[in-house]
């Protein structure tokens, strides 16, 4: 059934746009109400019948994906949740997809946050993705949540040389010395990959400058769309890959669904959110094109 809904709504939108194009070629302007109807359908249809577009991972996204994909099983990955609920709609889908990807590839995942607000979002990822999707996983062996430490960049300055000094225990109070993942981890340099999620300060940039560069650990980042442009100068030398905004999340999800069947059946908030966005963007662009065609045909008519 949903497929029928998708087909019908796409037909309405694209058929309607073609009709409008034809009308404007004959020199008639479009009424504003018609535009409103198009936008409403373009946004409402994908909500009612989830339409997902095939997203193709751009190189910046693929580089991070490939790194996680190709690391040998049992590699150690640190994921830092440095954001707040306002950024969560953009960043949480990335957090979920990357955590899923790491665990499904058999990596050992350490989760932490530099923002106090990150703790709730970190436990959301654990409760919504990690625990239900990987029932056989063992806390402390396959993943561990070490929680939040105050101190911003100060925390990074310490863990770059000694992790347990800043985080003596995990979030449940278990000493890290008795957490199996930390058997071979003394400092950040012992990680094979660091994924910094966020968009404020401290955030991905601080991870690169205070940890990635001095300890020579590859850093991948997932950030809110607004800050992504500022991080490009660091790619690919200091940052191995960037997921920017909901679009970056959607690209990652689509790449993940492509290679891992289990993920294909899961909730993909990034891709779902991109459905209404993409359709609405296409509609707006189509209107710009149609508007200009109407403008130029109208002018030619006047010239004649």
């Amino acid at each position: 059934m949903p497929n029928l809904g998708v087909i019908i709504s796409l037909l309405i939108i694209f058929g309607g746009l073609a009709w409008l194009l034809f009308r404007s070629l004959t020199g008639r302007e479009v009424k504003r109400r018609v535009i409103f109807v198009f936008i409403f359908v373009a946004v409402a249809a994908p909500i009612l019948f989830p339409i997902t577009f095939e997203e193709h991972a751009t190189p910046v996204v693929r580089d991070l994906f490939d790194r996680i994909e190709t690391l040998p099983r049992g590699s150690r990955v640190l994921i830092s949740f440095d954001y707040d609920p306002a950024m969560a709609p953009e960043v949480q889908p990335m957090a979920n997809a990357i955590s899923f990807h790491c665990l499904t590839r058999g990596h050992k995942v350490v989760c932490m946050c530099l923002w106090a607000t990150g703790q709730t979002l970190l436990s959301n990822t654990i409760n919504d993705v990690i625990l239900p999707e990987f029932p056989n996983i063992i806390d402390g062996v396959d993943y561990v949540n070490i929680g939040y430490k105050a101190g911003n960049e100060g925390v990074l300055n310490v863990i770059v040389s000694d992790f347990k000094k800043m985080f003596p225990t995990d979030v449940n109070g278990v000493p890290l010395d008795s957490v199996p993942i930390f058997d071979e981890i003394n400092s950040c340099a012992d990680f094979d990959l660091i994924v910094a999620l966020g968009g404020g300060r401290p955030g991905p940039k601080e991870w690169v400058l205070f940890v990635g560069d001095p300890a020579d650990v590859p850093v991948g980042v997932g950030v809110a769309a607004v800050v992504a442009p500022q991080l490009y100068p660091y790619y690919p030398r200091q940052i191995i890959g960037i997921l920017g905004g909901i679009k970056g999340a959607a690209e990652y999800e689509s790449e993940l669904a492509h290679r891992h069947e289990q993920f294909a059946d899961m909730d993909k908030p990034g891709l779902n959110m991109m459905g209404p966005q993409t359709l609405a963007h296409i509609t707006i662009m189509a209107f710009i094109v149609i508007g200009n065609i109407a403008f130029f045909t109208g002018r030619r008519r006047k010239d004649r």
Partner: protein, 224 residues
């Protein structure tokens, strides 16, 4: 006199606050003045409420066009004001928050004011579309630049942007639409923003100086 004293007040207060930035003992003046400011603003709310009632009662009395709707405004105003000032149905005592969950105040907020605000805000999605149709036309060079920049950014945010230029080799990846969109945000956009910010900054500085020195008096109304 009626104009001289206000001008003097502005001069003294403005100068004090400028000086306080450089003289640490005056550092707390800023906070004090801001609290005063807030208190005066609350009195202004009552001035506004009084005017609102006056306008709508006047409409009712004179049976102007759409006068029945003025009853709705007055009723909404009075009920909400009573709910807030007397904390009707508020679960806590007098010290609890005015918008504590369960109170009439928060119920009206959640079922009337919040949905109305969110809906008015979301009208922007429609108007963004109609504005792009109506106004993004290549009428002249400036309009064309505006149009192209907006189009590239829009395209860069859809899968088509990736698809259209996926054949461009990675060594010239700047020509791929998503990267071009990022570059536009990073270079010309940044430059334009900065030029405007510097201009506005200077304008504000200059206007503030004019106000403090009493050169600009439009805010005091007429000469009468």
């Amino acid at each position: 006199m009626r104009r001289q004293i206000p001008l003097l007040i502005t001069f003294v207060v403005g100068t004090l606050l400028i000086v306080s930035v450089f003289i640490p003992p005056f550092g707390e003046l800023e906070t004090t003045f801001n609290i005063w400011f807030d208190i005066i603003a609350v009195f202004a709310f009552f001035l506004g409420g009084g005017n609102l009632l006056r306008v709508h009662i006047d409409k009712l009395r004179k049976k102007k066009r759409d006068w029945p709707f003025s009853i709705v405004t007055i009723a909404g105003f009075v009920v909400m004001l009573a709910a807030g000032l007397f904390k009707i149905n508020n679960p806590g005592d007098i010290a609890s928050a005015v918008d504590a969950p369960g109170s009439l105040f928060s119920d009206i907020f959640n079922s009337v004011q919040y949905p109305l605000s969110a809906t008015m805000y979301s009208l922007l999605a429609f108007f963004v579309a109609s504005a792009s149709y109506r106004a993004f036309r290549a009428k002249n060079r400036e309009a064309t630049l505006l149009l192209i920049a907006a189009f590239i950014i829009l395209l860069g945010r859809t899968p088509f942007g990736v698809l259209v230029t996926s054949w461009v080799p990675d060594s010239t990846s700047l020509l791929q639409i998503p990267n071009m969109a990022i570059w536009i945000m990073n270079a010309p956009n940044l430059a334009g923003q900065r030029a405007i910010i510097i201009g506005i900054g200077l304008g504000v500085i200059s206007m503030s100086l004019r106000l403090i020195l009493g050169l600009e008096r439009s805010y005091l109304g007429g000469e009468k």
